[in-house]
Symmetry: C2
Subunit: 281 residues, 2 copies
Amino acid sequence: MQPDTLGVIGLDAVGGSIAWQAARAGVPRILGYTSTPKDGVAAARAGAITELMQDLRRLVRNSDFVVVSAPPRATMTLMGRAASLLRGGGRYMTDVSSVKLPLVNWAQEQNLSSVFAGSHPLVDVREGGFRSARPDLFAGQIVYVTAAPDGERAGREVADFWERVLQAEPVTLDAQTHDSVVAWTRHLPHAAAAALAVTLGSHGPKGVTYGSETRSATALAGGPPDALVDVLLLNRDAIVEALQTMDRSLHDLGSALADNDEARVRTWLDAASSWRSRLGS
Amino acid sequence: MQPDTLGVIGLDAVGGSIAWQAARAGVPRILGYTSTPKDGVAAARAGAITELMQDLRRLVRNSDFVVVSAPPRATMTLMGRAASLLRGGGRYMTDVSSVKLPLVNWAQEQNLSSVFAGSHPLVDVREGGFRSARPDLFAGQIVYVTAAPDGERAGREVADFWERVLQAEPVTLDAQTHDSVVAWTRHLPHAAAAALAVTLGSHGPKGVTYGSETRSATALAGGPPDALVDVLLLNRDAIVEALQTMDRSLHDLGSALADNDEARVRTWLDAASSWRSRLGS
């Protein structure tokens, strides 16, 4: 849907970009709410929102489409506060966190399947705050949309919002499939980069020079960990499995090296190199 | 030293850049040797070498400074072929591989400590071939120089070559310290990126979209593995230790997640994030 009044809860890089692009796409009224005053001021100054609200409930009551941009557990808290005001009347709500099953399950328990469908835009945002927002953040980017089994209508409306207003490419899938896919494609890379950073931080030599290689291999570890704590805990079964698999692969290399087994080292590195080459630059 | 005749064996990105910058720095005669004909042609066309040689021994006999740019084991083979022609007479030789102790030990065994000191320029070269060469590759970059205990003079001359001709910043240290430092700072990040690639390649979901995050976290795994096979095997004791440490750190995260222990997950991610923030962008 193209809302008449869009409510955006959380004016960080993602929420701020959604509001900003909606303003460009002609949504006439955009209500913003944030717990970070300077994001609210910056969003208003940029013309990304038409009104900065102090009252979350008023924002929800006055919006026909609500987006929550927050870490997963804060999202659930915020949606809990907003939910009772949203039921029915052709109004919809979505979020942008990278774990979907707990949210969709929660919406079902709250009897909100007809109102809520989850979203996960595949954008790389390195730092928070409205200053990292830009209206074209989602243009041409894939956004996963996950509805409850009995929430197809909400899924369609949310997907349509991403496509029509944000110019993104929505892909609808079920929440369980989503979470197990992203455990590998998104959460494991974060965890692996962080594990390298933890290792170098605790056992690496002090006062040495790290090259751009190590900067790029650990870049994902650099952000504030709040959202990642939530994500890893909420998707923990799938992530623990992925971590164990990576553990085995490090162990395979270590044991091939300890055996001075050139053929095994080469086979292992060839597998890495050929997968990475297929990924493209 | 600033040589009158520089010999460069291997005209790939690193060797080609050395030759090219030496030409710019006024070295009058630069002899090149390569087993890749198109690199030789490209280097001659760019003016990076003054003569393309077919005969390795003639190149060495006619040079007063020889650089070997090849993977570590090929370097040892090439140096073995060149060594007897180099002894004495104020002529020097270095290499550019990222493992130094086996080469310095070899030079000592060959009674070549007064001629050879190893080099390891800290530059990130993603792909081989002269087409990736550029004369300013080393300007302002750190180059580790490792001499044998009885090869201080060779160490000084090699360091002086890097500083005077290549405008790099040589740092002299002993080979053993070098190898244990780079096991953490260079080799572990390569191995970690490759382990993530191996894991995603073997167990990750098929036909899904990977974002720029995963591209950056696995970028180091993309090159041809030849040099890395050598490096990992030749520096295996230090690398096995680093791999085991990273294993433990992945395992710590996995077990904190399996226990749903938020405080431990947060502490672990905080350590990663604060180390990475200190590293800078």
